[in-house]
Symmetry: C2
């Protein structure tokens, strides 16, 4: 009986771009699954923790800034990799769009792309199932004010926030009631500025309140 295992990490990195939730995927250039998309990740060596390893993936391999990372599920089906047995410990990463844009140009050579979570492309290995579970997990976590704070940096509008809610929770909320609830909750405060340049009346800008402790909105 062999007890030695290969362990890999995989990460689903999410961001919000104009009210649309997106995930970062890598284009696979070699066989197997050439041309398919996969989650970024790396084999774990015996001198690093899972968390160190995934931080490496994010910063060194992908060239992204440090971000909020949370461990998710470990997948161990025997046939998830057809060549050898590999256990995957998966992570969820969250980054706001502002921080992201600053670094975007640095790695144009890497085949990375953001996908609307409602239009996931053809995925290699078992990554389609993993992505599906990651998205479901994000849906459950989205009511956490800390998660929202990470995805929405200063200067977001209430309608933008509402769009993400409705998308992830798959519900429709009355605009006026949404506004009232979120403002009364004390989780967000006005910055005093407005969002000009779009169609219609400019929206007021808000940011999450740092003085408010973590909690569930809704």
């Amino acid at each position: 009986m062999n007890y030695e295992q290969l362990v890999e990490t995989l990460i689903g990195i999410f961001t919000v771009d104009k009210g649309v939730v997106k995930i970062l995927l890598m284009h696979k250039k070699d066989e197997p699954y050439k041309g398919y998309w996969i989650l970024p990740g790396e084999l774990l060596n015996d001198k690093e923790t899972l968390e160190d390893n995934i931080t490496d993936v994010v910063c060194d391999k992908l060239g992204l800034p440090t971000m909020y990372i949370e461990q998710f599920h470990s997948f161990s089906n025997l046939n998830r990799n057809h060549e050898k047995r590999v256990i995957a410990t998966t992570f969820i990463g969250l980054i706001n769009n502002i921080t992201l844009i600053l670094r975007k140009q640095e790695r144009e050579n890497l085949e990375l792309a953001w996908f609307d979570i409602n239009s996931i492309p053809k995925m290699g290995y078992d990554h389609d199932k993993i992505v599906e579970k990651l998205i479901n997990y994000l849906k459950k976590r989205i009511i956490d004010s800390n998660i929202l704070k990470i995805l929405f940096p200063s200067d977001f509008t209430i309608p933008e926030l509402q769009k993400v809610y409705e998308q992830l929770l798959d519900i429709q909320i009355d605009r006026r009631n949404f506004r009232k609830r979120i403002l009364n909750s004390g989780y967000i405060v006005s910055t005093g500025d407005v969002n000009e340049g779009n169609m219609g009346r400019p929206a007021k800008l808000y940011r999450f309140n740092d003085n408010k402790e973590e909690g569930n909105i809704f």
Copy 2:
């Protein structure tokens, strides 16, 4: 660089006994950590999944009936085992007291014991930290009606249920309001029987409603 890893599973099995939440621990009979308590578990071999492995632990090693099992966190600190590098994938198991008692006698030779989660004994390895996180996780999950349904089989009383709530969520709830909320929610239904033989007025017995879909109480 070595990529081969030892992976173990560990499980925290919880039950509720007369309104007290308890966890099942094993007494370690050999060095290291002889005399300390540890979580049940086993090394993973390369022909089984993590879930198969932990089911084996529960059924074959511990002699317990099949139960509800959920994967929790994977721990990979380099020094969590001082002899060699072992990654632990942990699980939470839930079983109700009724099912449990039926099998209790079978394995009196195994040094297993149930501990009130407020009186955890001296634990080996990093299991104290793992137990703490498992308990915190259970606290968050306890509002899920499906979790409660597993822990409370048919014929529980409302005060029993309330005790567990107050214990885990660390709150005090007015008896009359608790009763109203839980009954109005539709999650539980009366069995028509009463719980005789104790001090005071006999309590009515309830069970979780199978026709009610999963949701959060409170």
